[in-house]
């Protein structure tokens, strides 16, 4: 993150096609979102747009001004739909829970239309909440999927907002029957969460399906065998008006969605968060190897 300024340089130096005007991308700043935003940036720049990327700490920083002053956002199906749902129907509204990306996108169509947002093609790559344990815990207790923990009592290290969420604490206890003896709000895929699990302070930690650092830390993800996670497939969200003015954006971004898979994304994430390769370089590298650039 933090390289929003330099992306401007990229846009001016490598624009090849005809001038298509200005385009603003907003994205969350965590590693994977920043990486995907950078891929959008490079592709759209090549297509002739003057791209401005804004990376922010959380979705609420841009959701209020999208699509008014933000044109394109690398999103997750469940994320954007449920965010709009909460905004439209209050934060107690029942969330959309479909496990399939395309289905969820269809379910949320009305909300998206009302907001003036159009989702392009849904990628097969998906980034949902995942829960991990140490390799040792897995081996010792024979635990490989979440249902293996049913009836067991664990301490959960998770994001601030985990409590009461169906895709997190509530789902784990209600659907899987896991006894959460204590919830430590140490953050989503944060170092403190890893450390807490590794140190044995907690047994179960929250991260994402595309976390590239787990293997290097001796941690393993447990399979979500009862599908409590709503679909979080990667998808470009574009302002409807902007899209009708610039229909070529879809032609630029849809191939990228087709090329991305969960495995590839996990590998790319690992390069960034473990080897700390420059996200720009990683993006270029990937786009080139996929023949998109």
């Amino acid at each position: 993150a933090g390289d929003d300024l330099s992306s401007k340089d990229t846009s001016s130096s490598s624009s090849a096609s005809a001038d298509q005007g200005d385009l603003t991308i907003a994205s969350q700043s965590f590693g994977e979102a920043a990486l995907v935003a950078e891929m959008y940036n490079q592709l759209l720049t090549k297509a002739g747009y003057h791209v401005d990327v804004k990376l922010v700490d959380s979705r609420d920083a841009y959701i209020g001004i999208f699509p008014k002053s933000v044109d394109v956002v690398p999103e997750y199906v469940g994320g954007i739909v449920n965010e709009l749902n909460a905004r439209a129907n209050g934060d107690k509204a029942k969330p959309f829970e479909a496990g399939d990306g395309a289905q969820l996108a269809a379910d949320g169509k009305q909300l998206l239309d009302d907001a003036g947002i159009t989702l392009l093609d849904v990628s097969s790559a998906t980034d949902t909440n995942a829960f991990f344990v140490t390799q040792k815990y897995s081996d010792d207790n024979g635990v490989t999927k979440l249902s293996d923990l049913s009836g067991k009592s664990v301490v959960l290290a998770a994001a601030d907002d985990c409590e009461g969420r169906l895709d997190c604490e509530a789902g784990l206890s209600d659907d899987y029957g896991i006894k959460i003896s204590k919830l430590l709000p140490l953050g989503y895929a944060s170092d403190q969460t890893y450390k807490s699990v590794i140190d044995g302070e907690s047994q179960l930690g929250e991260t994402s399906t595309t976390d590239g650092t787990l293997a290097s830390q001796g941690l393993v993800v447990l399979e979500d065998d009862q599908q409590i996670q709503p679909a979080q497939n990667l998808v470009p969200a574009v302002g409807t008006q902007f899209l009708s003015d610039h229909p070529d954006v879809a032609d630029v971004l849809n191939p990228l969605m087709a090329a991305l898979t969960t495995e590839k994304l996990t590998e790319l994430n690992g390069r960034i968060s473990v080897d700390r390769e420059d996200p720009k370089a990683v993006a270029t590298d990937f786009l080139t190897s996929e023949g998109l650039l």
Partner: protein
């Protein structure tokens, strides 16, 4: 605006205040955090600054260093302490791992106003009064205890008061590293789109800050050894009283 009615709704709901993650509990955590950080800063900074003030030298360096210390983003400091292999307790809470990191970061944040004011306060005790004390045969310690300290008290206290409010207001960022305190309500609120809740947290923080300020101002007045003649600059309320940080820096420039 809906946000405001939400805020009011959140604040007026009894359930918001009670329980493990209720406002009261978090407020208590943050008060504990603030108080402890302040005590740490006082223990670290006050004796040093008072002594340098008594000697009348070396203090400008301390003042300038502690002032530049302000530039270290508390957030970064916090992150450094949290990501360091920190020997904190495993238990979570005001004195848990993140709590301790926050304590240290906040204590460092509290140092500049405390050091600056204490140093300047002692040094600026009028020269004629100091000389009178010497002239009547007081030892260094007697002079410090009976003359310099009482006369420095108001300014020292105003430094502590400044530090108190700043630390309290800054303590919310503990939430950024999953630390304790009311910051959690704010981040949680914004993270879950419950803006009313987030703003409610901010409101509580601001109100408590004002209360602390008023209480500290009253304490400062009560502890002032010289009953003030009505003077041009009033020390009461929010006005903060005498030139503190600003005045001291003016000298460091002249020197």
């Amino acid at each position: 605006m809906r946000v405001f009615s939400d805020t009011w709704a959140y604040l007026s709901a009894g359930s918001s205040w009670t329980g493990d993650r209720g406002l009261l509990h978090l407020m208590l955590q943050q008060l504990l955090l603030t108080g402890t950080a302040l005590v740490i800063a006082l223990v670290l900074g006050l004796p040093l600054a008072l002594w340098l003030g008594h000697l009348g030298r070396g203090g400008l360096l301390a003042v300038n260093i502690s002032n530049v210390g302000r530039a270290v983003p508390t957030f970064a400091l916090l992150a450094l302490f949290v990501t360091a292999d920190f020997p904190g307790t495993r238990e979570f809470g005001p004195y848990g791992r993140a709590g301790l990191a926050t304590l240290l970061a906040l204590a460092l944040f509290a140092l500049p106003p405390i050091i600056t004011n204490a140093y300047v306060a002692v040094r600026e005790v009028p020269a004629d009064v100091k000389q009178a004390a010497d002239g009547m045969g007081m030892t260094g310690l007697q002079k410090f205890r009976r003359v310099e300290l009482p006369l420095a008290t108001p300014l020292v206290l105003s430094g502590i008061r400044l530090a108190l409010v700043q630390v309290w207001a800054t303590a919310t960022i503990a939430a950024l590293v999953a630390g304790p305190g009311l910051g959690r309500v704010i981040t949680d609120g914004f993270a879950r789109n419950e803006f009313g809740k987030g703003i409610a947290g901010a409101v509580v923080v601001a109100v408590v800050a004002l209360v602390l300020e008023l209480v500290a101002a009253a304490a400062q007045r009560a502890l002032d050894p010289v009953p003030r003649a009505p003077r041009r600059n009033r020390d009461g309320g929010m006005s903060g009283g005498r030139p503190s940080v600003a005045a001291s820096d003016a000298e460091s420039v002249g020197a």
